[in-house]
Amino acid sequence: MIKNTFTRKKFFAINPNMDHSQTPIKPNLSSTCPSCSARVSEETLAENYRVCAKCKHHFTMSAGQRIELIVDSGSFQEFNGGLASINILDFPGYEEKLEKAEQKSGLREAIITGYASIGGYDIVLAVMESDFMMASMGSVVGEKVSRAIERAIERRCPVIICTSSGGARMQEGMIALMQMAKTSAAVNKLNEAGLLYIAILTNPTTGGVSASFASLADIIIAEPGALVGFAGPRVIKQTIGQQLPEKFQRSEFLLEHGMIDIIVERSQIREKLTCLLSLHKGGCRG
């Protein structure tokens, strides 16, 4: 088990070129809850898993915060952190977008992958970062997910992926779309190897990611209130020309419609994951 390689607060600084630790803490000292309009200080938010104490609204979490939330302290060891996107199609303005995304998120791409442990169980973890171009899936996301799965197969350990995505990355055209097939093929290999795959769907998970590896997990967990679906609500509203039902495509709606196994609050997630890993004896075929 990889442990204590980093201090709790700096677990992600694997790539020496990039110090992720600067990004999560935002300068503004208080925010307005988008759901109940309560004022909440960043400090209170941080203490409360970035959940509004009043209405349970789940604020966005950075990938770094999420890793800290779920893994054993200091156990995260990033791999493939150096993979970065290139402008394959010479798509106008893509380089600039990538640069901005890097600045905004402090990451090289929309996903972080690595080894970690949860409750003492070794796992491979991938966490998407919506601050990076809405965590759209291009070559790098597809490649890092596939490599993460392949590493889990090598080590015979479970895979946990925290998803959030606006879909395929249009700037990479069909190359981006094909990442759906590539990651689905990788999940198929994981299944053949009899290894556990848990997906944690967070707000929002749509498009190509929802219709590939996100919905192929053995066990699908969703955060309360997360929007998950193939088509975005705006597209649907435009197509059908009518209002959408309340809670449409939200976790609670998905649970009712049989699409997910369980809704877990952030405060419970590490415990639930530990329980699942324990029930799967770490994740391998009995």
């Binding site: 150096g82 055209g173 069909m174 190359i175 094909m178 689905s184 088509a231």
Partner: protein, 320 residues
């Protein structure tokens, strides 16, 4: 002003009509313009061929969506000596936006799976403009497993604007249905040959494209999302759709160069809809060429190659 229809053929027709009038008129006036007119006609013919060799991507989008373009039903009818359509997902419904069944092509039984578009308003409504609901993908899923049971190769045709974005479709798990098909096709223990015959739109189209060989008609397109959607989302400007179609690299030629498409199937000059017979002949030739190779391949090797092919798609840099 964005071009909404590819009307070159109509313009050509108008031009030819004018030429005819000119000819008649000159004959009436006892001029002999026949040799000049012949030269003109020859030039027009040359121009036409040149024109079709130099279509811009947006024009191909329009051609690929041409309402008279041959569809799955035409190909199945022309290809199969025997054919039985199989219906239903065994769960919720039959989705007419997809057609599926077993056919025999020159003695080889095939599971054939495809989207289905209409050629008129009534048919379009009936087939939901070729946009499937989850039931369609679950029918495909069922018949993929059936093909595997009987060790029967799979042939797919791709021609859809994408999966239907509606309330019911989301309620019944569009994303879940599509991902299952993607995963199943990636690991299916029978050969899969896929042909993009019209427009391939988004993940809803990709579902039938995971294959051992991906072929594409010369005027077909295959895109991560429609150029309209991309232009409106990325550039907030629907007027720039032609430019977007260019930027997205969606033509058969682009995708061949990107290594996603294995071979381009030639179309008759002017597009598939002008000559069904020639189009079908090309498609038959392509199947004759590729199917025996993948059918003859050892299953484990076939699956290893399919994975390798999918696995290798993607370009990036590494700086560690």
């Amino acid at each position: 002003m964005v071009k909404r229809q590819f009307d070159y053929e109509q313009k050509l027709k108008d031009l030819k009509a004018k030429l005819e009038e000119l000819n008649d008129l000159s004959k009436n006036m006892q001029f002999d313009l026949s040799s000049e007119i012949e030269i003109l006609e020859h030039k027009i013919q040359e121009d036409r061929e040149l024109r079709y060799q130099n279509l811009v991507p947006w024009e191909k989008v329009l051609l690929s969506r041409h309402p008279e373009r041959p569809g799955a039903v035409d190909y199945i009818a022309a290809l199969c000596d025997e054919w039985i359509e199989l219906q239903g997902d065994r769960c919720f419904g039959e989705d007419a936006a997809m057609i599926a069944g077993i056919g025999s092509f020159e003695g080889q039984a095939l599971t054939i799976l495809s989207y289905r578009k209409g050629k008129n308003t009534k048919e379009n409504l009936q087939y939901n403009f070729g946009m499937p609901h989850p039931e369609g993908y679950r029918k495909i899923q069922r018949l993929l497993r059936q093909a595997e049971k009987f060790n029967r190769p799979v042939l797919t045709f791709i021609d859809t604007p994408g999966a239907y974005p509606g309330i019911g479709a989301e309620e019944r798990g569009q994303a879940w249905a599509i991902s299952q098909v993607l995963m199943t096709m990636a690991g299916l223990r029978v050969p899969v040959l896929a042909i993009v015959t019209g427009e391939g739109g988004s993940g809803g189209a990709l579902a039938l494209a995971v294959s051992d060989r991906l072929l594409m008609l010369a005027n077909a397109v295959f895109a991560v999302a429609s150029p309209e959607a991309c232009a409106s989302i990325l550039w907030k400007d629907l007027e720039r759709v032609e430019e977007m179609a260019q930027a997205m690299k969606i033509t058969a030629q682009d995708l061949y160069e990107l290594g996603i498409v294995d071979e381009i199937i030639a179309e008759p000059v002017g597009g598939a809809h002008l000559d069904y017979e020639a189009t079908i002949a090309s498609i038959k030739d392509a199947i004759r060429k590729h199917l025996p190779v993948i059918v003859g391949c050892d299953r484990d090797e076939l699956l290893a190659r399919r994975y390798e092919k999918l696995r290798s798609i993607g370009k990036f840099k590494t700086d560690e």
